[in-house]
């Protein structure tokens, strides 16, 4: 939809603002800054992906793939890490980064799966689109229980920005009036199916304080801002021809392009941020052309770092100067520490009955049971909490390997919906631990000469207690509902990184000695350098975080423009 401005045609290397990254956060920074009139350079390390045009598989049926979307040997070799993701298949692999080209290291006893999307739009093309607000409970948590530093922000500060983002992107959901999961500005909710409705009622009847609601998801269920409505194909990760789910490719980048103020440059790997000692500010970035490996410098009055948590950390640590020998903005020494993710454990059960109940369409969404522990009561075993996502569905033909039968009747049976299954997954909050960290590898470098990341993380006692408690509580709710064959998954199936919610490596805080960013997402040390991807998160909550990244990005961009207008940068 928008035109790439080729480097040859660029008139200047000077801009009002530079945005590093074009995904969930970068797209929002681009939109806000350009709409406020700033000439903005958006740098994307990967290729360009244009809305509609670059969704090659979005209308393909399974039989059009050689192995019906199952991964070929070549794909498995190219993507040994990425291939483990639920959203990775032959129809989506082109939106995931090659593991061969983008290696990283971790200690042998601390596995880490870095799931990454290095192209225009980043993971905003691939996300599961669940959109939940953090609550006052989350913003107060660190201060109250002493883990991590206090957020320099409270819910009232960010609430109007949640409103703003939700109104713009379109989030469908249902308001529940819960203090642990604030209501929002929602488009009509998607419907639960028969078993989910039954389960919701069972939970309400049997468990005080527990609520099941439909997933809050960044899909426009009705026509909204010239997008959608959702056609319920559940093919989202291939790119949506109806623009029905939010991605930066379909929504924020076209909006930025429309202003005429955006210069978009793909294949631009940021090597480092330039720091000017005299001015005490970031003055630009050093860029390596991903294809030619040529290097260029670009300059601007403000820099937004939105490359996603791990790459942003890499850029910060690689931006050394005599003022910042350990990386720009790192006088606290905190950059790279306190890496968090969301961990989960699944529980599956069979559901008797409901044989005459079915659903029509392929809902790209599930149900949500917001946190209920440590809200009004205190669990003595652990701090923080967890929420459940899940869905009920009728089994398909693949059950045919588990049941006896062959011949005409068997074929007929297998083409009909099978018994109901209820899946629940508990997603837990991860505390910010100094030891969970990412650093630059002392020797190994990538093909562009940038040091590889060495990632070292593990869950601690509080997380293990949450896993145990959440599994028990999930099983208990399913038992109470009369579900059968309740089987909890193995928590070891989850590997750090699998939540694809890596965050926290450049945390916000009140004290420059113990945190990297102030309450406006600006570096304590470098006032015109803003970091608004997951790295800013001071705590993780247990909610899916993208909506929070978007809200903080919009808020920071508006603050940056105001300050710029006041002549403060």
């Amino acid at each position: 939809m928008w035109v790439t401005v080729k480097y040859e045609k660029m008139q200047t290397n000077n801009f009002d603002a530079i945005v590093i990254g074009s995904g969930m956060s970068g797209g929002w920074a681009a939109k806000e800054l350009t709409e406020k009139g700033l000439k903005t350079l958006v740098l994307e390390r990967g290729r360009q992906v244009e809305h509609l045009k670059d969704y090659p598989t979005t209308n393909m049926a399974p039989w059009e793939f050689k192995f019906r979307k199952q991964l070929t040997k070549e794909t498995k070799e190219e993507y040994p890490i990425q291939k483990n993701v639920y959203a990775f298949n032959e129809a989506t692999k082109h939106f995931w980064a090659s593991d061969k080209k983008h290696p990283y290291t971790h200690p042998e006893n601390k596995p880490f799966r870095w799931l990454k999307a290095f192209q225009t739009g980043g993971k905003s093309l691939l996300w599961y689109r669940q959109s939940y607000r953090l609550s006052e409970i989350d913003f107060e948590a660190n201060a109250k229980d002493g883990y991590g530093v206090d957020w320099p922000v409270r819910y009232k500060d960010i609430a109007p920005w949640y409103d703003y983002v939700e109104n713009y992107i379109g989030v469908s959901g249902s308001n529940e009036g819960l203090r642990q999961l604030p209501d929002g500005k929602f488009l009509p909710p998607m419907e639960m199916n028969c078993v989910e409705k039954y389960f919701k009622d069972s939970i309400k009847e049997n468990f005080d304080g527990r609520v099941m609601t439909i997933g809050r998801t960044a899909h426009v269920t009705v026509r909204h801002n010239n997008r959608g409505p959702c056609m319920h194909r559940n093919m989202c990760e291939t790119g949506c021809p109806f623009s029905a789910y939010f991605s930066s490719v379909s929504v924020t980048l076209p909006a930025a392009q429309l202003t005429g103020n955006m210069t978009f440059k793909p294949y631009s790997i940021v090597h480092s941020i330039i720091f000017d000692e005299k001015q005490g500010k970031a003055t630009g970035v050093r860029v390596i052309d991903a294809q030619t490996k040529e290097t260029t410098e670009y300059y601007a009055k403000i820099v937004f770092l939105c490359a996603s948590t791990l790459p942003s950390t890499q850029i910060l640590l690689n931006s050394t100067s005599s003022r910042f020998p350990n990386g720009i903005g790192n006088s606290s020494g905190m950059i790279g520490h306190h890496l968090m993710d969301h961990y989960y454990v699944g529980i599956t059960a069979t559901v008797d009955g409901f044989e005459d109940g079915y659903y029509n369409g392929h809902r790209p969404n599930g149900i949500y049971i917001p946190r209920f522990e440590n809200v009004d009561t205190k669990n003595p075993d652990f701090v923080r909490g967890y929420g459940f996502q899940g869905s009920a569905f009728r089994e398909g033909w693949s059950r045919g390997t588990k049941v006896e039968g062959l011949g005409a009747v068997f074929k007929e049976e297998m083409s009909k919906p099978g018994p109901w299954i209820m899946d629940l997954g508990a997603y837990g909050e991860c505390l910010p631990y100094y030891d969970n960290k990412v650093e630059l590898h002392p020797e190994l470098k990538d093909e562009w000469g940038i040091p590889l990341l060495h990632i070292s993380c593990e869950l601690h006692e509080n997380e293990h207690k949450i896993i145990k408690a959440s599994t028990e509580k999930g099983v208990e709710m399913m038992e109470e509902a009369g579900f059968k064959n309740i089987v909890p998954g193995d928590p070891k199936d989850w590997i750090f990184g699998d939540g694809i919610h890596e965050m926290g490596t450049a945390r916000m805080g009140r004290d420059p000695k113990t945190s990297v960013l102030n309450q406006w997402n600006a570096c304590h040390d470098v006032p015109n350098l803003f970091i608004t991807d997951g790295s800013f998160m001071t705590s993780s909550g247990c909610q899916n975080p993208s909506l929070t990244y978007m809200a903080f990005t919009a808020r920071a961009a508006n603050y940056a423009v105001e300050e710029l207008k006041k002549g403060n940068f």
Binding site: N59, M60, A61, P62, W63, K66, F67, R68, K69, Q70, T72, K73, M190, E191, M192, N193, C194, E196, K197, C230, M231, H232, R233, N234, M235, E355, D356, G357, Y358, Y359, N360, G361, H362, R363, R394, G396, W397, S398, G400, T401, K402, E404, G405, L406, G407, A408, F410, K411, E412, M414, S415, K416, P417
Partner: protein
């Protein structure tokens, strides 16, 4: 891995029922009249015809398409040729050879030449086996996969690639097919 290598390896792996490649080629020349014209890429004609026959018995043509209409056996031949890793190839070739040899031993004839009642009885017996890892269960899975993800197989269900609306709770009768899309 080349087919001949596999045949050699599986001949060693499954003692007593392995067939040497040259002997195999010889046998192919004087088999029964084939029910399919497809020339397999990886499997021998005898192996392929066995797979074809099993697929037909599991998913026969009725008023809806059968395994042959959905080209299930060629798909399985392709899985052997390009999809399976070496370990799986060895395992499944051995499994298929055992299946064939056991049939010969028991009924004194190849599976494809066996009368249909005995073919079905033989398959039903294997189907009852509680070993989820058995070769027959794996093959049954490939047959279901090949059929229900093919165009005729998907369209034999209620194929709705662009549903438009979503209705969470509808009533259906016992004849209703799976509503399936492109995901």
């Amino acid at each position: 891995m080349k087919r001949r290598e596999v045949l050699k390896k599986s001949a060693i792996t499954v003692a007593g029922i392995g067939v040497l490649p040259n002997l195999f080629m010889l046998l192919e020349g004087c088999g029964p009249e084939r029910l399919t014209n497809y020339q397999p890429v990886f499997l021998s004609v005898a192996q392929y015809d066995t797979v074809w026959q099993i697929a037909e018995l599991i998913l026969p043509k009725t008023d809806s398409p059968g395994a042959d209409d959905a080209a299930v056996a060629p798909y399985i031949d392709l899985l052997f040729a390009e999809f399976f890793g070496d370990e799986d190839i060895i395992k499944y070739v051995a499994g298929l050879n055992s299946f064939m040899a056991n049939c010969e031993e028991r009924f004194g004839t190849s599976f494809v030449e066996l009368d249909e009642n005995n073919q079905i009885a033989y398959l039903q017996e294997l189907d009852k086996d509680e070993d989820e890892e058995s070769f027959f269960k794996a093959l049954k899975g490939f047959i279901l996969w090949g059929y229900f993800t093919s165009e005729p197989g998907m369209k034999s269900m209620n194929y709705v690639p662009v549903p438009g609306k979503f209705e969470g709770c509808i009533s259906i009768d016992k004849q209703e097919k799976i509503i399936v899309g492109n995901r």
